[in-house]
């Protein structure tokens, strides 16, 4: 929206720079207890224009900012594709144990056996859950895991001397990261359409399955929330062409103890620990994207991975260490992965066990199907069959032509809910992608469904309610002028011009 203002915009919370006052400091440090060395005059900086605040200024500022955020701790967050489940508090405590946070990544392994055992165990568990033979914990996020897996696929073909393969198949329902990852590793991306049941179109797939194929990236269940009914056939077609199957594990929350991706025919796959295993999203990160692979691809995993470097003997426990796979694609980041995130995922899996994990997926799928059942008469669902952990509806009606998915999304904020993902996947018009997760109870789901149904009614009877949403009594901010942001490109702020005068 384009917003014209006659006066300067109202400041709800000043920036740190506006709060700054010369001479304030939020934390003191002692004077040096060693003789002062001569400073390198030619290399000293003249000005350091950072804000100056006391501790209480800083704390109040950030607490105020926190109140502007919607979060899982404050309410229902049915953001499709993101698995915004409850983040257990115990995970925050275990990740902050002094024995973990005060560990330097380059310490000798003899001093870090606890951390290495935990990583080894987590590798084993994630292999068991997916059915893969080998696994790395190094990738920092899902997209980073994709980059890792696709690089391994390329390295595999290169190792066989098969240099002509340069094509990656990606369904039209895929996350944007899939084609971006393929392009980043220098591959040509070919999009494969979906059929009328939301599966990969097998005819189109067969037509592209030739000897230039690196492989295919497939999210299953896909971004429509549907389990591909031909997944084994898809894997067979790609394998017969000499290609490899990449599994995007974005939607693993529907698959724990339900099926193993390796059993279905996938060769390599990434997890998203921040989705499936409840590690918090942190306002955008950190994530963690471990990658599992079959025996044929194990040697290409990035370095290092955790392994037993000295077997148990003479009453001594085994020694765990960091090893480099034989044909590794190399290092994909510094050190050994997002260890703090790994501790949280480890805690979560330890507290669930095999039955608990299966329950997670069963109830995630139950919740999604329940909402689908409650909403399908009100919102058109273009691919309507039993869904997995999420489903995609359309936020539009023929008899309410001015209403878009965005309006429904913004109106949901008035009702106290975070909106579903909108405008994705691209193959659904005005998409509203709803993923409730297993941690929400029936009352919450009913309240959400009631709000959605009420909004659909308002779309017809009082569309302005949707266009103007969210309203001032419900949210701290209204809709943003995104055009102005991109046009003005104000990407940082500074201390006021007269700041140094205040100092005198």
């Amino acid at each position: 929206m384009d917003i014209k203002l006659d006066t300067a915009p109202k400041i709800v919370e000043p920036t740190l720079y506006e709060l700054s006052s010369p001479g304030r400091v939020g934390v003191d440090f002692p004077d040096p207890d060693v003789p002062r060395a001569k400073l390198p005059d030619a290399l000293l900086r003249e000005k350091l224009p950072l804000p100056e605040l006391s501790e209480v200024d800083v704390v109040r500022h950030f607490v105020k900012l926190s109140t502007f955020n919607y979060s899982v701790d404050s309410g229902f967050y049915p953001l499709g594709s993101c698995t915004m489940k409850y983040n257990p508090k115990i995970n925050e405590d275990t990740a902050r144990l002094p024995g973990f946070v005060a560990l330097h990544p380059l310490q000798p392994i003899e001093t870090t056996q606890g951390a290495l055992v935990l990583m080894y165990q987590l590798q084993e568990w994630l292999k068991e859950i997916s059915g893969f033979d080998a696994l790395t914990l190094q990738p920092a996020a899902g997209a980073h895991g994709e980059f890792t897996g696709v690089s391994m696929m390329r390295a595999y073909h290169r190792d066989r001397g098969d240099m002509k393969r340069n094509k990656m198949l990606v369904p039209d329902s895929a996350h944007g990261t899939n084609p971006a990852t393929s392009a980043m590793t220098g591959l040509k991306v070919v999009e494969i359409p979906s059929d009328e049941r939301g599966n990969v179109d097998l005819g189109a797939l067969r037509a592209e399955a030739d000897d230039t194929l690196v492989g295919m990236m497939l999210t299953n269940p896909n971004t429509l929330g549907l389990f591909d009914e031909h997944v084994e056939e898809i894997c067979k077609i790609v394998h017969n062409a000499g290609g490899l199957m990449y599994g995007d594990g974005a939607n693993m929350n529907a698959m724990l103890g339900i099926t193993k991706m390796a059993d279905l025919g996938f060769d390599v796959m990434h997890y998203n620990l921040h989705k499936t295993f409840s590690t918090p999203h942190g306002g955008g990160g950190p994530g963690s994207g471990p990658v599992g692979a079959t025996a044929a691809l194990a040697d290409f995993l990035p370095a290092p991975i955790v392994d037993i470097v000295e077997e148990e003997a003479d009453g001594l426990p085994p020694l765990y260490g960091l090893v480099t796979p034989a044909k590794t694609i190399g290092r994909i980041k510094a050190f050994h992965g997002h260890f703090g995130v790994l501790v949280r995922a480890f805690t979560y899996i330890a507290m669930h066990g095999p039955d608990g994990l299966r329950n997670v997926s069963e109830y995630a799928v139950l919740n999604a199907n329940y909402l689908l059942a409650r909403l399908r008469d009100t919102y058109h669902v273009p691919y309507d069959r039993t869904c997995m952990h999420e489903f995609v509806a359309e936020g539009r009606w023929k008899d309410a032509p001015d209403i878009h998915a965005l309006d429904v999304a913004k109106r949901l904020m008035d009702y106290g809910f975070h909106p579903p993902t909108n405008y994705f996947p691209l193959i659904v018009h005005e998409a509203l992608m709803v993923e409730p997760t297993e941690t929400e109870n029936k009352d919450t789901l009913d309240a959400f469904a009631d709000a959605m149904i009420k909004i659909a009614e308002e779309a017809h009877t009082n569309p302005e309610l949707l266009h103007d949403a969210p309203h001032a009594e419900n949210t701290p901010f209204g809709r943003l002028d995104e055009v102005k942001a991109a046009k003005d490109l104000i990407l940082c702020c500074w201390l006021p011009e007269n700041y140094s005068e205040q100092e005198q």
């Binding site: 304030r24 400091v25 934390v27 350091l48 926190s66 983040n87 925050e92 606890g114 920092a140 995104e482």
Partner: protein, 448 residues
Amino acid sequence: MTYIPHSPKERDEMLATIGVEKLEDLFQAIPAAHRYPALNLPAALTEMEAATELREIAESNETTNELLSFLGAGVYNHYIPAAIDHILQRGEFYTAYTPYQPEISQGTLQAIFEYQSMMAQLTGMDVANASHYDGATAVAEAVNMALAQFRGKRKRIVMSQGVHPQYRATTDTYTQFSGLEIVSTESSLGTPDALMELIDENTALVIVQYPDFFGRLYDYTKLAEAAHAVKALFCVVANPIALGLLKPPGEMGADMVVGEGQPLGIPLSYGGPYLGYFTTRSKYVRKMAGRLVGESVDSRGQRAFVLTLTPREQHIKRERATSNICSNQGLLVLAAGIYMSLLGKTGMRHVAELCYHKAHYAAEQIAQLPGFELCNAEPFFHEFTVSCPEPVADINAHLLEHGILGGYDLGQDYPDMENRMLIAVTEKITKDEIDTFVAILGEVNHGH
């Protein structure tokens, strides 16, 4: 124990609404032969049991709390003010998603905007993005950005061996299918003058570290000019704590300043999660990967912030995106922002000076030990290289017996740097601790 809230009665009501009898009925699309595999995992623990087990695992590590640490090599043990973690533990911050809905995400958005501002000013640059995974991937993305700048027509990167070995290894992985040539000086200790000779018309990027991996400090102004003379880009990988004291790379002519943000209030945590910061000039902002927050106004006439220039990103541009990055280190960005605002210009300078003085005291003391020699002829900040009379691994084993984590063994990465130890000293180390370290080091030459 799980976090599933349904009562059996509610579950059955929901199944009835869906029109199926049991949960299993929802999974008919999964091939029957592969449905409900056995999971060979340990039985579930209660919270109480898990808390005990995790505490025991954690306690089996020997950490920098018990050991006196002189390890740095890209990760530094600085004091972290208490207020940071108290703010990070607010569920409003850590259980929120990426701020795609700005009406209900202004907390995260304004915090990122303030971080971008402080990072740009600390480095002397125009703009910072909302971060990459870590220092290593920020370097790899800098290389990608330089390649994109020349649309892949320039294939040469001049990279100092003084850039962190793991950052260089990561860059090699990222670029292994791109036909790129990454060149450096033959000697590990190549100088900026020696790097200058490697720059040619095919060079897309010159990249150095400040201080470099061996602790050396150079004014890179002339090197930047040499890069610019052939229209190549110039990138500096900088330690943000050093910039509290030292001339920012922005004043040396850098086009990009990137690096590891861990020293800014982020715990060691065995290697992550950390924060890759990335800054550049305004003219390159559209070429930079990663999220960006910009200032705007809302429909109520309030100043507000929003993710901007998103058409560069993968969810819009797909295979034509500048990078596949789809997250930022949100919570770590918040930590770094709180750290910089608590310390402010006075505290940032103070911590940097403490590190400087203590490191120089330690270097001076070690240089007086027989058989040890300080290798840094140039100025250094809080980390320096010494040559040792015995293999570093042996010395470190001896130090560990005395509860000391010795410095980094440079011979692991650099064949021409055998017996050289990289020693880091932060503000947390006291004079007495340095004296203890030096005393134990002094024992090695007498045999033990």
